[in-house]
Symmetry: C2
Subunit: 418 residues, 2 copies
């Protein structure tokens, strides 16, 4: 046959070949000692810094292409690398080396009445796919966390960062080689064609989990078309509810921090809910404070605005009937990320924490605290807004599965009665 | 408009309405005390027994229809109910009432340096869909486990058991009503049209998880088309590997138990692997023992037979090169359910338990032990063969998610520094 296979078939094969190589690599990674993994992480930090020149040159080309394409300044900033940022990226790898190794931890165990010895222990997931946008630092962060948890990773970054990502992955693979580990533990998938995402998320049996990191559109598309299990991350329509029993100084502080600290991240607040009983006094004060901080306040929000993850200095406002009204509103409009109540009333706090269906519920604390580093995990691969497997900030343990190991008698063997 | 909506749209709406009602019910269930749930489970056991006449009459109609349709005897047996089986079903509900309540358990917690108090606690998943075949007892088992874990359940059983399931669910809903709980905590979805499965598994946002219980075909279809997160269960191509250092008496005992105890269940063994170094002596003896027990032994298996979950008295046999050969074979052909090694060599056992990628690994024990009751969970909703969320037998904790509850200062409020 001289007929060429269509390009899409080639791409599919390419993704499947990468997944198969990752699977092979993952078998070695699962058995590595903590010491070996940590050594490789430090080596990777060194190698990234040694490759500074190549990485920044590649990044300059990505930036030039993005500028030519008219990419907005905020996105250019997310794409940009410089020596300081590379230092931060390398420091991140060293930090992951310092975290406890989740692999091998025994979660449950028992000796059954028949003498069987059961042990449920943490094992790596195997092959993890990450689909992400913009920032090239995710390339290295994801490598560090997946390596430490004994997984191989398939990275599908943005085409706008293709050259930067390739340069970074070259450095990481060189470090793996020097550490005597399989280089295919980290692979960059082609990003020019959107179809590589589809092939990745449909490589059931070859890939164990795919984690999409990005906007609602990306996540929806991945979840809709995936046959590989996925973990939804990071879409946050977060609310701050100011209860009738709130201290307004506290309310203002928490509201402003939740909204304005970093409006573009998923744990920032998008809606303010105010208890009807105090709306007359609380609302003008809080709205003024928001406006003084540069927030565009939507006082008569549309249904669309109530559902929006603005990721900007916009905020929808609604008046609700007490804590039950707030819970009902949030369960209708929220995305299950982070919800906060400001109150001095313990009963209201309890109704809110019990009633709200979200990954994290804050009482008298800013929504900005939902973050792996803030929670003391050391690092995070994303914030899960789904209920299966992991919910909230995901650290190393969330990148693992478990295995039951059962020991019977070597002399008699254990058999199950009929 | 006088034009009728097409039937499929109606069915979709019907499934979505059921899911919405289940969501509402689930909000009440999440807050129930353990005592209230246990009382409802005992009441449900009583009510099922009180409805014996109606249930058996409905079951007789299902059986008659199945017989007319030429259903094989083995399947008729799975469908059949009788007073003894109803006693067993009711006893199952009482047993679940006796199990520890997973809801509210605190999994992790800490006080951060800044004073924030973190607590990660178990909460219900919310709305759980179960898609299953044949056996009507699953209807009641699934209800018991989901209610105890605070979830509402949408049941999509087999059309062949439609009348039996309807009679059982009528009894369960009556019990909920009498217990003062929302009846929509358990609902039976229409089963005449296959599309109700599709609507259920695509009701993202309305349904939190779908668990398919059945053959590989059902599970593949659900996983392929689902947008709701799913948990794959119960496809088992399990192996028994007889190592060079095995005691052949032990090997024979474990092999026969793994293969013949109940060939139709997922934890039964389908393939025998024998170490090449002892094949001359071990193979004839083990094959004879299998044949004496009525097993059809496939000594020169096809690729298809090596991948088969026979669920019958068939067994494929292959010779492998030691424990590494066994691990490679299993990771190529297994389904990640249960794998067993028979050996007296500790190093071989360790290589096997570390190398095999499966939910459960048995050392000198029958594959038949992979079972929630055997593992001491009291009951199981299925055996997960995927790596995300749950792996192996799933009991009550596997029917839960978690929620982070974070307490800041009521006097100052906690805000995150820039």
């Amino acid at each position: 046959m001289s007929v060429q296979a269509p390009a899409t078939t080639d791409l599919r094969q390419q993704v499947h070949d990468a997944a198969a190589a990752a699977r092979t690599a993952s078998r070695s990674l699962a058995a590595l000692s903590t010491e070996t993994k940590n050594r490789a992480l430090h080596l990777a930090a060194d190698t990234v810094l040694e490759h500074t020149h190549d990485i920044l040159a590649a990044n300059a080309e990505d930036l030039q292409a993005a500028r030519t394409a008219g990419t907005p300044e905020a996105m250019l900033d997310r794409l940009a690398l410089n020596p300081q940022r590379l230092d931060g990226i390398a420091a991140g790898l060293r930090q992951v080396a310092g975290l406890p190794d989740p692999i091998g931890e025994v979660l449950r165990g028992s000796t059954l009445p028949n003498g069987l010895q059961l042990r449920q222990q943490r094992v790596p997931l195997g092959v993890v796919g990450i689909v992400y946008e913009g920032r090239p630092n995710v390339t290295v962060d994801a490598f560090g966390l997946t390596l430490k948890s004994g997984n191989a990773v398939l990275l599908r970054g943005s085409s706008s960062a293709a050259r930067s990502n390739a340069a970074l992955v070259t450095a990481l693979r060189e470090a793996l080689y020097e550490a005597g580990l399989p280089m295919d533990a980290v692979q960059l998938l082609p990003s020019a064609d959107r179809a590589s995402v589809t092939h990745l998320i449909q490589a059931r049996g070859l890939v164990d989990v795919v984690i999409p990191r990005g906007g609602a559109g990306l996540i929806d598309a991945v979840v809709r078309d995936a046959t590989v299990p996925t973990i939804e991350t990071g879409v946050g329509n977060c609310h701050v509810y100011v209860d009738g029993a709130a201290d307004l100084d506290v309310a203002e502080r928490i509201l402003l921090n939740s909204k304005t600290r970093r409006p573009s991240v998923c744990n920032s607040a998008e809606s303010l809910l105010v208890d009807r009983t105090v709306a007359d006094t609380a609302l003008p004060r809080l709205v003024n404070a928001l406006q003084d901080a540069g927030v565009t306040v939507h006082l008569d929000p549309t249904e669309e605005q109530l559902r929006a993850e603005f990721l900007s200095l916009d905020m929808a406002v609604a008046v609700v009937d007490g804590v039950d009204g707030a819970v009902a509103h949030i369960n209708e409009y929220g995305t299950g990320h982070t919800e906060a109540i400001v109150t001095t009333d313990l009963a209201a706090a309890q109704r809110f924490t019990e009633g709200v269906d979200a990954a994290a519920v804050m009482v008298n604390a800013s929504t900005a605290f939902t973050d792996g580093e803030q929670f003391g995990f050391g690092a995070e691969i994303g914030i899960s807004t789904q209920k299966l497997h992991a919910r909230g900030p995901m650290g190393l343990p969330e990148l693992t599965s478990t295995k039951w190991i059962v020991w019977g008698s070597p002399l008699e063997g254990h058999v199950r009665p009929a």
